[in-house]
């Protein structure tokens, strides 16, 4: 598997507008993304950064907005929080994260597509938050809970 990718699909009882807001504003991401706030102007070419719960900008999760089509699709590229020099050297470039939204009556289908990954990004131990295959289900589940019940999920660290 040369360039594995990761896909997560979920259906949320909400509107595309509310989901878009939750996906793009730091006030929301902080609630479902392990306390991280995204910071960007959301224009193609703009910087994309993540601010960690301790207030510092994450030094690895740095990238650019590649596509921004409100309520439908957005894409940005980024290295990953857990990248160390050894991991970064194995990459041929940043990964890309895409959210695709499709309105389906009272639901919105959200497809998360994370591409240009390397095998190191996947974690075989299910008892850790490391690895995009462990992290994304938690983030997406917290997002759905937040939009449907008003409360995100408290994860055990």
């Amino acid at each position: 598997m040369d360039k594995p990718n990761y896909i997560y699909v979920t259906y949320i009882r909400t509107t595309p507008e509310k989901l878009w807001e939750a996906l793009t504003k730091g006030d929301f991401s902080e609630k479902y993304w392990f306390g991280y706030r995204m910071e960007t102007e959301w224009k193609v070419g703009a910087d994309f950064r993540l601010r960690a719960p301790d207030g510092n900008l994450d030094k690895n999760w740095v990238g650019k907005v590649l596509e921004y089509n409100p309520f439908k699709r957005l894409t940005y590229n980024t290295f990953l929080c857990t990248d160390k020099t050894t991991t970064a050297n194995k990459r041929n470039g940043p990964t890309t994260v895409t959210y695709e939204l499709e309105a389906m009556g009272p639901l919105v289908r959200l497809r998360l597509i994370h591409e240009n990954l390397i095998p190191d990004d996947f974690e075989s131990d299910p008892n850790t938050w490391k690895g995009i295959n462990n992290g994304w289900p938690a983030v997406m589940s917290g997002l759905k809970s937040l939009l449907e019940t008003g409360q995100a999920i408290v994860f055990q660290k």
Binding site: Y11, L107, P137, S141, S145, E148, T149, Q156
Partner: protein, 158 residues
């Protein structure tokens, strides 16, 4: 509890976190009053012991899938082997489905793992692709009291 998964066959893994208890999630996965709400009005028939038969039944009484219980640890783990009873049916071979339930903070982690005798089977791929919607509906049901309407009814004409 951790058990070794079959390493030889490709696996599809679906994970969701639900704000509920392991006991409520187990009930939602196995009892008719719950499965009817998010699994197209179907229910499961089994004595729920290792080696017992397991059937998934459509609203009109037809058997949709049948198989047997391979492992069962209530509120923690369930492994089933099953095949489809409608066409293309037995020709597609068996599937192995595992539910793993673990408490995680104020929520429960549910992992649904599929392994297929015929990994390139279009039929099983279609089944597999149905999981995100069913899991989303199950989560909405347990967290809000309402499943997603699209998953409550048996498809017309099937």
């Amino acid at each position: 509890m951790k058990a070794k998964l079959h390493e030889s066959k490709p696996k599809d893994v679906y994970i969701t976190y639900v704000r509920t208890t392991p006991k409520k999630l187990w009930q939602a996965l196995t009892s008719p009053e719950f499965t009817r709400q998010y699994w197209y009005d179907t229910w499961q028939e089994s004595e729920w012991k290792v080696g017992d038969t397991w059937k998934m039944v459509a609203p009109d009484g037809r058997i949709v899938n049948s198989g047997k219980i391979i492992e069962i640890f209530p509120t923690r783990r369930l492994v089933l082997k099953w095949h489809h009873e409608f066409q293309p049916g037995h020709a597609e071979g068996y599937a192995r489905m595992t539910y793993e339930i673990e408490k995680s903070g104020d929520s429960v982690k549910l992992s649904v793992i599929h392994e297929f005798d015929k990994p390139d089977s279009k039929f099983f791929k279609a089944i597999s692709n149905g999981w995100p919607l069913r899991l989303s509906s199950l989560k909405s049901l347990l967290e809000t009291g309402e499943s997603l309407k699209e998953t409550r009814y048996w498809p017309k004409g099937m």
